[in-house]
């Protein structure tokens, strides 16, 4: 049952969330997989797995490996493609009691645009997140996430074809994230998700080769939390649109760190793998924190840790 508690409500660039806790793209499938393990009434929203124009089988195996306080993945954007997404996945997603965002990836700008256009008429999507930062496949749009000009073009083009709230998910693998954040904002983005995974590698000592078939993968989990937090702090100081913090969040305290740094909402990825109860507990913990401090709205904390 949806607990109505206005203290946790946030509006992230037009996406209304009952609370600021969102499941990150690629870590909650198309929602249904987690049924029974996670109560969608306890969270604010979910971002469906990145979809591309055509279905993708993903990279060769192995695709994942453990690291200290984190993991590497090189799934390679395995997904059913936008057609099957609309036909097979959206009907179930629409029944989800939390906000549902679609996440779009591609290797060329036209690919993104086609997918967005295909989704535009589909009901039940609260917003779009553009993945311009998948480090694992050429098709992940990583070029868009590295060059402010290229990014601006993509975002403008997307802006023209959708009336939906448009979030851009930025890459942490850049020298300076600010020009990218500003470019996306200027081109019409409604919010920025900060950030995707860090490029990383592990060697297999038995086989004398990288563990992942893809050689490198994206590092996620608590290991990257300080890096993501520094980026959120930087971006929130540079743009006026809301920022969604993402990277290594597992507790309400972690979420608060991001909110104090300037995030209006947070996404949880790997935390759900470790314990599908984490997203709900994070939301509950935020509620408790507000009550203890006698605060009426989580918005009172957004950016409250900035100096």
């Amino acid at each position: 049952m949806r607990k109505s508690n206005s203290a946790l409500q946030v509006n992230v660039g037009g996406v209304k969330l009952a609370n600021p806790v969102i499941l990150a793209s690629g870590t909650c499938g198309y929602g249904t997989e987690l049924e029974g393990w996670l109560d969608f009434n306890t969270i604010g929203g979910l971002v469906a797995k990145s979809i591309t124009l055509s279905p993708r089988t993903g990279n060769a195996m192995p695709r994942v490996v453990e690291c200290a306080s984190g993991m590497l993945n090189a799934i390679g954007l395995a997904n059913v493609g936008v057609e099957a997404f609309c036909r097979e996945k959206l009907p179930a997603l629409r029944k989800c009691p939390c906000a549902v965002l679609a996440n779009v990836a591609g290797s060329r700008a036209e690919e993104y645009i086609h997918v967005i256009q295909r989704l535009e008429k589909q009901p039940g999507i609260a917003g779009l997140e553009l993945n311009v930062s998948c480090p694992n496949v050429h098709a992940g749009g990583i070029e868009f996430g590295r060059d402010p000009k290229v990014l601006a073009k993509l975002v403008s083009a997307a802006r023209r074809v959708t009336r939906r709230p448009l979030w851009i998910k930025l890459s942490p693998n850049v020298t300076d994230i600010v020009p990218l954040a500003k470019a996306a904002e200027a081109a019409g983005a409604d919010a920025l998700t900060v950030a995707n995974t860090l490029v990383g590698m592990r060697m297999d000592l038995a086989r004398h080769r990288p563990v992942l078939a893809n050689l490198t993968g994206g590092l996620s989990g608590p290991a990257i939390k300080p890096v993501a937090l520094a980026l959120v702090y930087k971006v929130a100081g540079a743009v006026k649109i809301p920022v969604v913090g993402c990277g290594g969040i597992e507790t309400a305290g972690d979420a608060l760190e991001f909110i104090l740094a300037g995030a209006t909402a947070v996404q949880i990825g790997t935390g759900t793998f470790r314990d599908p109860g984490i997203p709900g507990r994070v939301a509950a913990g935020l509620r408790t924190y507000l009550a203890h401090r006698r605060l009426h709205s989580i918005l009172d904390l957004v950016g409250a840790g900035r100096v």
Partner: protein
């Protein structure tokens, strides 16, 4: 969900653990598994998957081989230790059908076979179990298997107990003399499962195998545990771990 360790019996590198976990015990089916996390800390980072070896009366049992840090921590856990479990996960073995079953388990791969044998025997289906290992110490659950009423054949590669050689040799002998159709269920090392699949094809027996892959989520959301099934990637954790042997692409 939290579960309390009730007892932990050791056999060489193996440990037979019994947990109190009523909700899990009620829902568990043979071939399903549980993702276990030893509470607290980031090492190991992921939960670890273990097949349900027996379930009932509010209890769930596992047979654990101590390998790396995760399985060692678990194998050494003292009674009263609380662990966090997610499960039961995945799809189990086929229980329907009256054909006699040949269950094949290598090493800790025998774990899900005990649970399967019990349930098949409860339906009065004849069960023959083929237990294999490198040496006698790897032959687990023999006594428990016999108590189910199953016929048990043991093999060791070093000949220290039972048939000398691979577990697939007595299996092949059995398949050769089969008059009526039998159905095979197998769990164990990759090479063993591959050999079982070949035998099953040759002797036209239906066979199911339980596969292993490293698992990040265990819930079917990460796509990190896929295997090629009929040419398409499927998730071991959600679409398996039990697959029709003939559908598995062993070379992928």
């Amino acid at each position: 969900m939290h579960a309390e360790l009730i007892s932990n019996r050791h056999f060489g590198p193996y440990a037979h653990l019994t947990f109190s976990a009523p909700a899990l015990a009620r829902r568990a089916k043979p071939g399903q598994f549980v993702e276990i996390r030893l509470t607290g800390g980031n090492a190991p980072f992921w939960r670890r998957p273990f097949s349900i070896c027996r379930a009932g009366s509010g209890r769930v049992e596992f047979l654990i081989k101590a390998r790396g840090r995760g399985s060692q921590l678990l194998a050494q856990a003292a009674p009263k230790t609380m662990v966090d479990m997610v499960g039961p996960l995945g799809n189990g073995f086929t229980l329907a059908g009256k054909q006699p079953r040949l269950l094949v388990g290598g090493g800790y791969g025998i774990a899900p076979m005990l649970f399967l044998a019990q349930q098949l025997r409860a339906k009065n289906i004849p069960v023959e179990v083929f237990i294999g290992g490198r040496c006698g110490d790897d032959l687990l659950l023999r006594r428990e298997m016999k108590l189910t009423g199953a016929r048990v054949t043991c093999s060791t590669e070093d000949g220290s107990y039972g048939h000398t050689g691979r577990v697939t040799e007595p299996l092949e002998a059995r398949l050769k003399q089969a008059k009526a159709p039998v159905r095979i269920a197998a769990c164990g090392p990759h090479a063993m499962l591959k050999a079982v699949t070949r035998l099953a094809a040759h002797y036209r027996a239906e066979a199911e195998v339980s596969l292993e892959e490293v698992m990040a989520c265990g819930l079917g959301v990460c796509n990190g545990c896929v295997v090629k099934i009929k040419g398409e990637y499927q998730r071991v954790c959600k679409d398996g771990p039990v697959f029709q042997a003939k559908d598995v692409d062993w070379h992928a």
